[in-house]
Symmetry: C2
Subunit: 524 residues, 2 copies
């Protein structure tokens, strides 16, 4: 929107001294100007208006907070929140100019989307670039998220959005014809299959450079759980070295600048608890394509408390994923899985890391559902190998796991990323705990994924690594009154009290007749 | 959402000392906690998470900013932004507790609206109460605004929203059977008819306690323009005294706490430039009903650059206003008016105040269009008087204006509110100015309301009172090359440069054949 034009006719602004204000405003750039600052008065700024700050040949947009305390900033200073200050890469006192921000270049395209119109590829591109570069306020971000959720995007628009998100960041190239990955749409506590699938398929020889996110609304993400075992914040060069040597990694994806607009959008989607099909497809596929994947196995769990609750809904979502993947030349294998209950026993980073290591070590205490699901997913990925016959993948995966080759590969990956010396035979669980027992006799007929996740989060997971929930019974199991259902671990009394209050409202378990156990008809 | 339950099981939190942090964050409460504060660490707060603060028997919700500078807050302090601090009504050092905020009670209703469902009256009530009480973050506010705009609200939902907005604040009762008001949906620069209609109808004897807003996206609101002449920030008691004595006032409505949720929603609608029919109806009618009006004349201007561009759209909007008004027992008279161009000559508080005073004084320089429109609107209101015959209102209004009785009443209102001694014969216009001249010969065939408003805002209006645009030609007028179209006034060089750049992109005027002048077929 005419930025060069305006800039050229705008007289050179008086300069202020930059000051790093020790306030962490997360992803929102905030600028602090004293109320008596001459520029503030002259420009007619208002609190919360957006300003454009130029310094050191760079510029950022920020939200303005007006300051009345000269100890925070005085009249000749321009304060910046920590992230904003870091973006300019200067030292305290560096001169800077500030002016009213022109609206982001994409604001008219955003307006058209809010008004319910279709956007073309170019419009998605300018919007996503503005988002990735931090030009959108939280208000604008939220407007975009709500205006593109539900059925507001047709499938071609989802493709445009995905392409734009890939283009907004870095794209890795592994210089190999096959780069495999697996991903789950989420919503099932536990379910840490990636940490098993990756070493198995790498041991088979496939290239699997896995980058994962931290938990957004769940009690643990793959990156949080892997971080119990090893460093996960790797630079791109280090990550590439490890992958070259071990055919795999299990790293946090945030440092790699893959689909950066996605990370910004999540900052709004998370508090609103929004997860619409179009945004989910664009988010997942953009990350995978930016990470250089050529073959993806995608896990869509269905169940009464899963993200996807019916087979019809799962099939609609599958087709949307397939449409976008096809046009982005990603080979996609969607598997619809049993999402009626958590997978594995532990919920929370340390508890989940314990389960994963038990499966890898073929420990008799290993949760059988986690093992079976991981083997099936790994088998599907192994069948990407042109030398493997359809149907043979599972047996190959099982052989790799049973023989200890998967554990060996995992050990090598942990060592390469930097081991944190976790002892999974004596995991240090949160020292404060309470037990939740059955209040009647019968069969476990329901385990509410959402409530179990909520309890684990209230107990402190994922931030408190060894907090969470340890499940002792799964669906269909007969229980008697006072039988232990699960144990909650925490490190802080306040967290324990929050989790206990949530359990008092609902344990997340229902006990009834064997016939009441819900069924889902899925492949595995 | 279980707040009492959680509170009762939550162990008493350690208390922190409150500290007023001299940062103005406008309507958003912000809390500042030091990163090394024990409570911050124990509770697992994150930057931008929402916290609940209890002190002095009150509680507020706030967005958390994490601080690394002990000069802003130290480890034993809880900092609050200025508005947030004021809400607790305590002094520095007062003890306070902080905990994770439970989501607002209405969050599930908001989620259903985001998902596209209809809400009932009770659900609108909890949402609007949460909004009025500042429980919503900007993200949640934006989600509500976008999820209820366009055709997302049916007319019954608009009624529920209006009722909820009235109920969320104070409601004035004038103890008279007839309380009249006029309102325009906005979008037409100048158009300061209220400041003429109010003294005219009050001189006739009608009760007209007019409360107005300041400019939101326009170069001047009625409150901004009236403030050139008199104090407008009146307490409710003072306002009532003035109305009792003079049958009218022209005050800013913000202090009266009428429909407070509306003010909060505007803070999000303004940056997004959103003005959907449902939100417009709820906003306008809730304010009028809360102000105690029984009879309202509503002005809907139509034109190529007005908010409403076709007669069909105007009629749809009229029916929606009438539906809600009927159910709220407000007698409503909608008039659809000519919105092809600005009304009056001046755009900006001082320039508009000058035009208004010229009309009141029957000065030959008074803009005739402003006079005529005000007389017609006043005539319609006067016909609310059961003793006036249909069709006689205009002549009565004209007589009141021509006889000087309107000016006398306006003088009394100004004196009662507190005169600011404005000399409309020598208005001190912004000392920096430039002229915009015709670049060809022909007739004025278009004046773009949006561009003229934008230029006036860039020149500094409404914050800089005597900045703005002074129009010398209106639609249909013949002009020759280099004839003066309008003059732009500013006080600061930067503002002048911004306005000049905008004029260089588009003057807002088009010149062509007489036949190209657009017509609208409206009553006046």
């Amino acid at each position: 929107m005419d930025t060069p034009d305006t800039a050229s006719t705008h007289p050179p602004a008086t300069s202020l001294a930059l000051r790093r204000v020790g306030i962490d405003t997360y992803r929102e750039n905030v600028a602090y100007l004293h109320r008596d600052c001459a520029i503030y008065r002259a420009e007619g700024f208002q609190a919360l208006s957006k300003v454009e700050i130029h310094a050191n040949g760079r510029h950022i947009l920020a939200t303005l907070n007006v300051v009345d305390d000269p100890h925070i900033v005085d009249c000749n200073e321009l304060g910046l929140s920590e992230d904003a200050f870091a973006r300019l890469n200067v030292s305290d006192g560096h001169p800077a100019t500030v002016q009213q921000a022109e609206p982001p270049a994409s604001i008219s395209a955003l307006g058209r989307k809010i008004a319910g119109e279709r956007l073309n590829a170019g419009e998605f591109r300018v919007i996503v670039d503005d988002i990735a570069q931090g030009h959108y306020s939280k208000i604008e971000l939220t407007a975009f998220v709500i205006a593109t959720h539900r059925d507001e995007l047709d499938r071609e628009e989802v493709l445009f959005l995905t392409e734009a998100m890939v283009a907004s960041g870095r794209r890795l190239d592994w210089h190999e014809p096959q780069v495999v990955d697996k991903h789950c749409i989420g919503g099932i506590p536990g379910n840490r299959t990636s940490m098993l699938v990756v070493p198995i398929v790498a041991a088979h020889g496939l290239l699997c450079p896995k980058t994962s996110s931290r938990a957004i609304t769940s009690p643990a993400g793959t990156a949080d759980t892997m971080e119990v075992l090893a460093q996960v914040e790797l630079g791109v060069e280090q990550l590439q070295d490890i992958v070259r040597q071990h055919r795999a990694c299990l790293a946090w994806g945030g440092a790699a600048e893959l689909s950066p607009a996605d990370d910004v959008l999540i900052s709004v989607e998370r508090p609103l608890n929004i997860d619409s099909p179009g945004q989910m497809v664009a988010s997942i596929l953009s990350k995978k394509i930016a990470a250089g994947s050529t073959h993806l196995v995608l896990d869509i769990p269905i169940g009464p408390t899963a993200k996807v609750r019916t087979m019809a809904q799962a099939q609609r979502l599958r087709r949307l994923f397939e449409y976008v993947a096809k046009h982005m030349r990603l080979s996609l294998d969607v598997v619809i899985t049993d999402g009626r209950q958590p997978i594995g026993n532990g919920i929370g980073p340390v508890l989940e890391a314990r389960d994963v290591m038990r499966v890898l070590e073929n420990d008799p205490r290993a949760p059988i559902d986690l093992r079976q699901k991981a083997l099936r997913l790994a088998g599907r990925l192994i069948e990407c190998d042109p030398d493997v016959r359809g149907g043979d993948g599972f047996a190959i995966a099982r052989d790799i796991l049973d023989s200890g080759r998967a554990m060996a590969r995992m050990g090598a990956i942990i060592a390469a990323q930097g081991s944190r010396g976790f002892d999974h035979n004596q995991p240090a669980l949160g020292p404060l705990s309470f037990d939740v027992a059955a209040t009647g006799t019968g069969f476990i007929t329901g385990i509410d994924n959402l409530q179990i996740a909520r309890i684990a989060r209230l107990a402190g997971a994922p931030k408190v690594r060894n907090a969470g929930v340890d499940l002792f019974c799964k669906l269909g199991r007969p229980v008697a009154q006072a039988d232990l259902l699960y144990r909650v671990h925490a490190c802080y009394p306040a967290d324990l009290a929050f989790a206990r209050a949530a359990c008092a409202r609902s344990t997340g378990y229902t006990v009834g007749d064997a016939a009441q156990v819900p069924h889902v008809f899925v492949e595995f």
